[in-house]
Amino acid sequence: MLQVSVEHVSIAYERTTVLKDISFSVEEGDYICVLGENGSGKSTLLKGILGLVPLQEGTVSFHGETERTHVGYLPQQTQTQKDFPASVMEVVLSGCLNSKGKRPFYLRKERETALYNLKRLGIGELKKKSYRNLSGGQQQRVLLARALCATDKIIFLDEPISGLDPVATSEFYQLIEQLNKENHISVVMVSHDVGTALKSANKVLHITREGCFFGSKEEYLQSGLGAEFLHAWNGGETK
């Protein structure tokens, strides 16, 4: 089932076009890996889809039960956040903001949702801890739990593993894969960790300055672009 379609989207940043003519779509259960060189506009594309930056051209539409204001977004962490005095529960509850509507307070239902998502990510025992005292991997899980409070349909992850140690990284990937395979939550993930990201993904969106490639992982690996990119990546690995 079609969830999101992005058609001929271009985004300009301070009058320079960073993204040109991007088209792709997300079907229910997809795990899409967004690749591209540094500065190719991967993060900007996510922001454009979520309405955080204006589109210069093109359209983004959400279909069926997937709503534009009910998406799970895991942005890149800022320094401010890392030192923020908030309890884990406070952070996760803020994911329920969109279901709260105009009501000033959260209800038991929303607290239960928050607790459920903490437990499902294996961090239920952290709920009273302070966010700023957690490790990088724990902080990412808390933000993922928050994203899951906002939706059970689709999550957008912006370089979620940057700054994590190898163990935390592989645990995080496992969680994402589990959410995708078992809970059928669609995943759109920007990552520069090509190798690992490609393991779980079923589709690839590769952005270049001229446009983009979008197709299944198999098609991508056989395409010239995919082969070239992976070669460069592997070359970087062996050095």
């Binding site: 977004y73 005095p85 000033p104």
Partner: protein, 272 residues
């Protein structure tokens, strides 16, 4: 006790305590979000703009608040916009605007009447400068600020913690920023005449920083910040009465003492 009785036998003292206490309360609540969003220096910039506006109003014989409030609100918009997406970096822009505003204020007053006691009181604050209209304004302001923080508490948390996430999930974050900017601007204009242009930002920054050294979650930081701010204001004004020192300075020093104590307490409790 007799000292307190004596202190409160003056009508202007009661007025200053009421206005100042309410302003301290508002400043501390707004301060938590401003400090966490790295906007603390905006308070400083706005008070300087307030000084410029008050000086111009005085020369033109206009009502000081009627001129200063809109000008400072305008400056608050401008500073928020600049720090969000301008070519000028936020801190540099604030420095630029605040020194220009002070310069305008000083030049205008020197050309007309020369630097006088009124200008001095704007710089360092005076509890004698408060009028009945300030009482009305500060009561109104604090009612609005308290309502906003109680009714929109969860949204304010979400926007402060992660504006992008809140916006992606349909929160009108721009609107919240404007609301907070307006409330901050009014708080500063009312408070700067007690605290002084140079010292009002202490009222915004200190309580939040002190609370963050000790408390680990947002709700406790908010509540303790409000309590610390009001208590420090009261202690500060009593000290200033006893020692006959300027009120703003003694309030800021009380806040500094509390900050040092909180920092020490935080170390002992192992919060950091």
């Amino acid at each position: 006790m007799t000292i307190l009785q004596e202190m409160f036998s003056y009508h202007f003292m009661i007025r200053a305590v009421v206005i100042g206490g309410l302003v301290a309360l508002c400043a501390s609540l707004l301060g938590v979000t401003l400090v966490l969003k790295h906007y603390s220096m905006i308070g400083d910039g706005l008070s300087h703009v307030g000084f410029g506006a008050l000086s111009v109003a005085m020369v033109m014989n206009a009502a000081p608040l009627a001129v200063a409030v809109p000008v400072v609100i305008l400056a608050a918009f401008l500073l928020l916009r600049i720090s969000e997406n301008g070519k000028l970096k936020g801190d540099a822009a604030i420095g630029l605007i605040s020194s220009s505003a002070i310069a305008i204020g000083v030049v205008v007053t020197s050309l007309s009447s020369g630097m006088n006691a009124d200008v001095y009181s704007y710089m360092f604050g005076s509890i004698l400068s408060m009028s009945e209209s300030d009482v009305v304004l500060s009561v109104g302001l604090s009612v609005v600020v308290l309502l906003v923080f109680v009714l929109c508490y969860n949204t304010i948390f979400a926007v402060t913690f992660d504006e992008r996430f809140a916006k992606a999930n349909g929160t009108k974050t721009g609107w919240y920023n404007i609301l907070l900017a307006i409330l901050t601007a009014i708080t500063i204009v009312v408070g700067m005449r007690i605290m002084g242009t140079m010292l009002i930002s202490g009222l915004i920054i200190f309580p939040a920083l002190s609370s963050m050294r000790v408390f680990q979650n947002f709700r406790s930081v908010m509540i303790s910040s409000a309590v610390i701010s009001v208590v420090c204001f009261f202690i500060g004004i009593v000290i200033s009465y006893l020692l006959a020192v300027p009120t703003g300075a003694s309030i800021v020093l009380t806040n500094l003492a509390v900050y040092l104590l909180s920092a020490a307490a935080g170390k002992v409790l192992g919060v950091d």
